[in-house]
């Protein structure tokens, strides 16, 4: 494989307001990449952009992006590709409504699917040709262990992530042929806004640790990575519990 040391690496960070995305932007910029932050809260992205640029001296750009507004994605990708040097993609957006709220309000289920599944596919679908043309690069997608098995407490979110994970398997095969790696990250417990206040969390990964793990996984062109790594073991067990027992379990 040829790698041009002089090429200008960029990471496009989608959903850049989350704590892991912020930590990822810092880590990637520390390692020498320019950054494009994309998300809805432009004031917040502006703050992160300035922060990353002051801390690392790299160029940081900001573009408005709404995962649910799929009609805008073609233009968004056009804009992002024009601004980027050598493009790499970190997809960090997601939405996790409470399952019991979804049960009484289908609109929340639709939203979860629109963000976690349709939104992710829409933007990745439009980025794929550019990545193919580039002939190298990394795509890292923050998915979830929730997609590994449908659970009582989280099955709509889980099914959207399961769909995403399956899509990524296909995308991986497609982009592999053009030298682009696709990494599915399955976080277990991460210490983020999404998990803040949930009882019973243990051995959580900090955003910095998770971000570094994502970056390392990309460099090694890994396929599927659990963060922290021992979640691979936990999910292996959970996947193998027989359905007649699993359906009675309260997890």
């Amino acid at each position: 494989m040829t790698s041009n040391k002089n090429r200008k690496e960029s990471w496009l960070v989608l959903g850049a307001s989350s704590s892991v995305a912020r930590a990822f932007a810092r880590a990637a910029a520390e390692d020498g990449a320019d950054i494009i932050l994309a998300g809805r809260d432009m004031d917040d992205l502006g703050r992160t952009a300035e922060d990353v640029s002051v801390r690392t001296g790299r160029d940081v750009d900001v573009i408005a992006f709404d995962a649910e507004d799929v009609a805008s994605h073609a233009a968004f990708v056009e804009d992002a590709v024009n601004r980027a040097g050598f493009l790499n993609v970190f997809l960090a957006f997601g939405a996790m409504p409470e399952q019991d709220e979804i049960d009484t309000d289908f609109a929340l289920a639709e939203r979860s699917i629109a963000v976690n599944y349709t939104g992710a596919l829409s933007v990745l679908h439009r980025l794929a040709p550019h990545l193919e043309e580039q002939g190298d690069g990394h795509v890292v997608v923050l998915s979830s262990v929730a997609g590994d098995r449908g659970r009582l407490k989280n099955y709509v979110y889980g099914s959207a992530k399961a769909g995403l994970n399956t899509y990524l398997q296909g995308l991986r095969a497609r982009l592999f042929r053009k030298g682009v790696s696709v990494t599915t990250i399955k976080p277990g417990f991460m210490d983020t806004d999404m998990t803040w206040g949930i009882e019973g969390m243990f051995l959580v990964a900090s955003p910095d640790q998770a971000a570094r793990a994502c970056l390392n996984a990309a460099r090694k062109r890994r396929h599927v990575v659990y963060v922290p790594f021992f979640w691979w073991g936990i999910m292996n067990i959970i996947r193998h519990i027989p359905e007649f027992i699993f359906k009675k379990m309260n997890i």
Binding site: S18, D44, R47, T48, D51, V54, R55, D193
Partner: protein
């Protein structure tokens, strides 16, 4: 959830918020609540200043972005959760430093201002609040106000060192100090007893930018107050960046590990490792300022029960006698102290509840064991008798009456709080214990 300060001897069950964005911070602050709220920043104050048992706590550690930096003037604007150590490392790459830094880089700029922290250069560069140009403060009413030393200086002075009781900081501007390199030239020298120690520090602070003393709190008799003085100045030449590696205390030490014998041995070893002629070397400034940051979670040394830190300041004229009494009480109690620091200070802090005063400050850790409260009580008495004061950032044991006598500007502080927070939205375990609102 349960929270504690760095000393871990005091804990509180609180409802905690941890916003990651500015609107989330405002939302957390404006939420419905019956009991008050206080900010928990870096978690490096030792006692109950950032705790609020039964009430709300807003953790600002995730708001850790630098919002702008001007490398001509050295002005940086930060969110409150930026750590002083991070800011120091970034500033150094542009030949600036944070002009005042406490003994740990994990403290945040928000906590630094709320405690008006000082460093080893207090006699020359004052305390943290002296270098803050403005603060965007969300008042208990929800109104956001930019306060400066000139515009509403009373509110500014209440916020500097006001242990979070004036509201929530959203951003602040800090003026950095230009330096020639990332290093200091430091000298270490032994002092055989307290008198020699004080004479050495008196002399050193006239000449050197940084002066700090490590004191052997277990030595008695003729050796009472012996120790090692470190002085340092900005170096002209660069040095290699300090190694990034850090050791971590993986588990709590058993409670008995910190006993009289182990502490005495450590202190004797520490004292005798240095040759009598002293020595001089160039060191990265971050290593000089943050020696303990190399050991992550060092507070676990004291086991599950945690520890108290006692830190007092005594006025210049009272120092020789007062310090001797304090050292006698401490070495006599025999509980020992693993790390004791004696250093001179030269300036008053600008805040109503700022700790620094011209004179000396003594800081020691005591394991949380039976008898520790009685000892702290004796030390509090001696401090009071000699016109001194106890540092709120460290305190978890002082009595309200003593506090009121030690901080003569308390009435001015209360007047500001009565004006901006008549409904007592801001509250903390410390505020209740010390009856800060009266």
């Amino acid at each position: 959830m349960e929270l504690s300060g760095w000393g871990r001897a005091l804990t509180a069950e609180v409802r905690a918020w941890r916003p990651e964005r500015a609107p989330g911070l405002a939302e957390a602050f404006r939420a419905e609540r019956e009991d008050g709220v206080i900010v928990y920043a870096g978690g490096r104050s030792y006692g109950d200043a950032p705790l609020n048992g039964g009430g709300d706590v807003i953790m600002t550690g995730r708001l850790d972005r630098i919002l702008s930096a001007d490398w001509e003037s050295g002005e940086v604007v930060c969110e409150p959760g930026v750590t002083i150590g991070d800011l120091m490392r970034i500033a150094l790459s542009h030949k600036f430093i944070v002009p005042v830094s406490p003994g740990t880089g994990f403290a945040t700029v928000g906590g630094g201002l709320a405690n008006d922290v000082h460093g080893k250069n207090q006699h020359r560069h004052g305390s943290f609040g002296d270098h803050v140009q403005w603060v965007d403060l969300m008042l208990p009413s929800g109104e956001v106000k930019r306060i400066t030393p000139d515009a509403d200086s009373e509110l500014f002075n209440a916020t500097v060192g006001g242990i979070g009781l004036t509201g929530i900081m959203l951003a602040m501007s800090i003026k950095l100090r230009r330096v020639k390199s990332n290093a200091v030239l430091m000298r270490e020298k032994k002092a055989r007893d307290l008198d020699e120690f004080l004479a050495m520090q008196d002399e050193a602070r006239e000449k050197h930018a940084y002066v700090v003393g490590w004191i052997d709190a277990t030595a008695r008799g003729r050796s009472l107050g012996r120790g090692i003085m470190e002085s340092a100045d900005d170096s002209q030449g660069e040095t290699d960046a300090p190694p990034g590696g850090r050791i971590r205390m993986p588990v709590e030490m058993p409670g008995f590990a910190m006993n009289r014998v182990s502490i005495s041995l450590f202190n004797a070893f520490y004292y005798h490792r240095l040759p009598f002629g002293g020595r001089e070397r160039q060191a990265p400034i971050t290593q000089f300022l943050y020696p303990l940051d190399a050991i992550e979670d060092w507070n676990r040394l004291y086991g599950k029960r945690g520890f108290y830190q006692f830190q007092c300041a005594l006025p210049e004229v009272e120092s020789p006698v007062g310090l001797r009494k304090l050292m006698e009480a401490i070495s006599g109690a025999g509980t020992g102290s693993f790390l004791a620091v004696l250093k001179s200070m030269g300036k008053w802090g600008r805040g109503h509840l700022s700790f620094p005063m011209p004179g000396y400050t003594l800081a020691l850790d005591f394991p949380s064991k039976p008898g520790v409260i009685e000892l702290l009580d004796r030390l509090e008495r001696i401090t009071l008798d000699h016109g001194g004061r106890i540092y709120l950032a460290k305190d978890g044991a002082m009595k309200a009456e003593s506090f009121a006598q030690m901080y003569p500007k308390l009435d001015e502080f209360r007047a500001v709080l009565d004006r901006i927070d008549p409904n007592r939205v801001m509250d903390s375990d410390m505020s209740r214990r010390l009856k800060i609102r009266g």
